[in-house]
Amino acid sequence: MNRNLEYKKRFYDMENEESWLNEMSEKGLALKEIKWRVFKDIYRFEPCDKRYVYREDYNMEGALEELTSPYIKFVTETYGCEFVCLANGKVYFRKAAENGDFPPVYTDLNSRIEAEKKFFWKTVSCSFCAFPIMCICGLNIYNTFDSDTVFGRMGFVFSIIALFCAVIDVVWFIPAALQKRKKIKELEKILDEKGGE
């Protein structure tokens, strides 16, 4: 893999990520896959002559693959676009610019806010799930640090997991939840200014 075709990035805003992917496409790079990492995700690209327009949405169905997801099927059929990948709780689509318009997935503020709220609560729930596991396992550090028994050693391994959970919680879920909360407030403000839709 050519290192130049890998970029480390972290996006909390769908529109910013879409814009960046579209800019990369302008430079002749087509998205191949996204690998999740604790601090920054790895975006892998491949050289491509075609110019694509990228769109993304939250993976609310929790789809694990393209073929079993009614939503992915609906979007690809409706827009005549291609599925690219699933990553970070999101699903990515693209359509060759020459094949016509590819409008944003959410064109109505109410449904956009609803989607952002669902993702926010999913993120917060993940964060709260990680927190008690982290605390319970973390307590084992003290008890098992110098243990010679099998259970003691297992407890120590759990404490390592606890540290890992803590890092993920702080680095990923909490900033993601805060960013989503900010975005929801911004969208609600726009909706209020418009007097509802």
Binding site: V75, E77, T78, P103, Y106, T107, S111, A115, E197
Partner: protein, 110 residues
């Protein structure tokens, strides 16, 4: 679905989706029909449309017609409940427009 949908007033998106399903239609067809009806003013994204279709199916205001479609794309049609919701909405909109007209008419003449 938005709050307004729950208390009876339909959002523009839901209203137009229901209108476009008085005849069987699929996702892309619904989008085109809405674009055409609203003169290009209302454009629905797939996320918005997919959410609306699912909620309307749950409420039994529309139903899928896959067994009769014969095609690859899933089609939907409005149900009796959905039609009633559209008739109620039209009455509500008429009342809003009439009340608005009555008040504004005097000011227009000035």
């Amino acid at each position: 679905m938005p709050e307004s949908f729950d208390r009876g007033a339909l959002t523009e998106a839901v209203y137009y989706v229901l209108l476009s399903l008085f005849e069987p239609n699929h996702g892309y067809g619904i989008m085109q029909k809405i674009d055409e009806m609203s003169g290009g003013r209302v454009k629905l994204g797939a996320g918005t449309l997919y959410g609306a279709l699912n909620t309307l199916c749950t409420k039994k205001w529309i139903k899928p017609l896959s067994e009769f479609s014969g095609g690859r794309k899933k089609e939907y049609i409005i149900t009796e409940l959905g039609r009633q919701a559209v008739f109620d909405e039209i009455e509500r909109l008429k009342e809003l427009a009439e009340n608005g007209e009555k008040i504004v008419a005097n000011f227009k003449e000035d």
